[in-house]
Subunit: 186 residues, 2 copies
């Protein structure tokens, strides 16, 4: 569990930093929106990422706290706080998924080299991190075999469409998704 | 607390139904999207609402369970499950907020009478329900004065821009928001 907590910590501090970069990119776009529709569109994405940021500000210290625990009994479904951690991690799996899509949507309109380079970097890291979080949570849930049932598990099949080939935006190719396994991740 | 649980139950069963109506509206739009950008855009909103629906499927029975409790001691921050309920309700306050914005965004493009009539109905109910959830949670948090600190409280100031006048889409008018109070709600 300790190794996994280390990775969760790394992933969620990385994505917290990525949110801030993305929000900084959105800010002038919102300020200079050409109409109310465009303003609302970017402002809405900005707020969703801001909500995610607020949650991560709570989650990251919770991960840290569990990382420091030496008693393996702590990592048990009998421990309410550990259950809460797993639930929050599950929620942030979806947060990462949605972030990848926010970046993909931005890539359609922010096509200048500076912004698209940054967006592509953030996108690729976030997508790999999303896959890794998903895989780790599946394994943890199996291992503990506790009462907690992932309320979103039946949706996961939908989320594989995030896979893309090369640098093109999201491509829905059910036949390709099998090529993406955690084994292929660094 | 029982009266509030009744209202939460009513609000979240109503919004669950509203999500389903909205998803049914989005489905053909996704199928017939003119390009990948349009498809991703509506599919993304569809998925966010689907995630919310999955959470509500868990939350609604939890509200029901607490509604049936006769021992007031259950409604205490010392009770982990009650704390979890408050956290979930807080998350769904933001879920309702984001839903209002999804409806507002849809109103910009689904301008035919049939869809815009339904969207406006859903929008008005959801906005009132969002305000009421927010107000009730503020009062509950004050009343219990427990350890739980709303991680999003500092964002609430941003969320008042949802207020609008008449049937026009979202208007950011800080001076108007004072006209909306829970006292004015049905
Ligand atoms: Fe979004
Ligand atoms: Fe959204």
């Amino acid at each position: 569990m300790k190794d996994e907590l280390n990775i969760f910590y790394r992933i969620f501090t990385t994505t917290k930093d990525a949110i801030e970069k993305f929000m900084n990119m959105l800010d002038p776009v919102i300020q200079n929106a050409k109409d109310e529709h465009e303003r609302l569109y970017y402002h809405h994405i900005y707020e969703e990422e801001e909500q995610r940021l607020s949650r991560l500000v709570e989650l990251i210290p919770l991960i840290s706290k569990f990382e420091k625990e030496n008693d393996e009994k702590i990592f048990s479904p009998a421990n309410n706080e550990f259950n809460r951690l797993l639930q929050e991690l599950n929620l942030e799996k979806f947060g990462l998924h949605n972030f990848v899509e926010h970046l993909d949507l931005a890539l359609f309109t922010f096509t200048d080299e500076e912004r698209s380079t940054l967006l592509n970097q953030l996108r690729d890291v976030s997508y790999q991190d999303y896959l890794q979080v998903k895989e780790m949570l599946n394994k943890i849930n199996e291992r503990f075999d506790h009462d907690y049932v992932d309320p979103h598990a039946h949706h996961d099949k939908h989320y594989d469409h995030l896979a893309r080939l090369g640098s093109s935006p999201i491509i829905k190719q059910p036949n390709k998704k099998k090529g993406f396994t955690v084994g292929s991740l660094k």
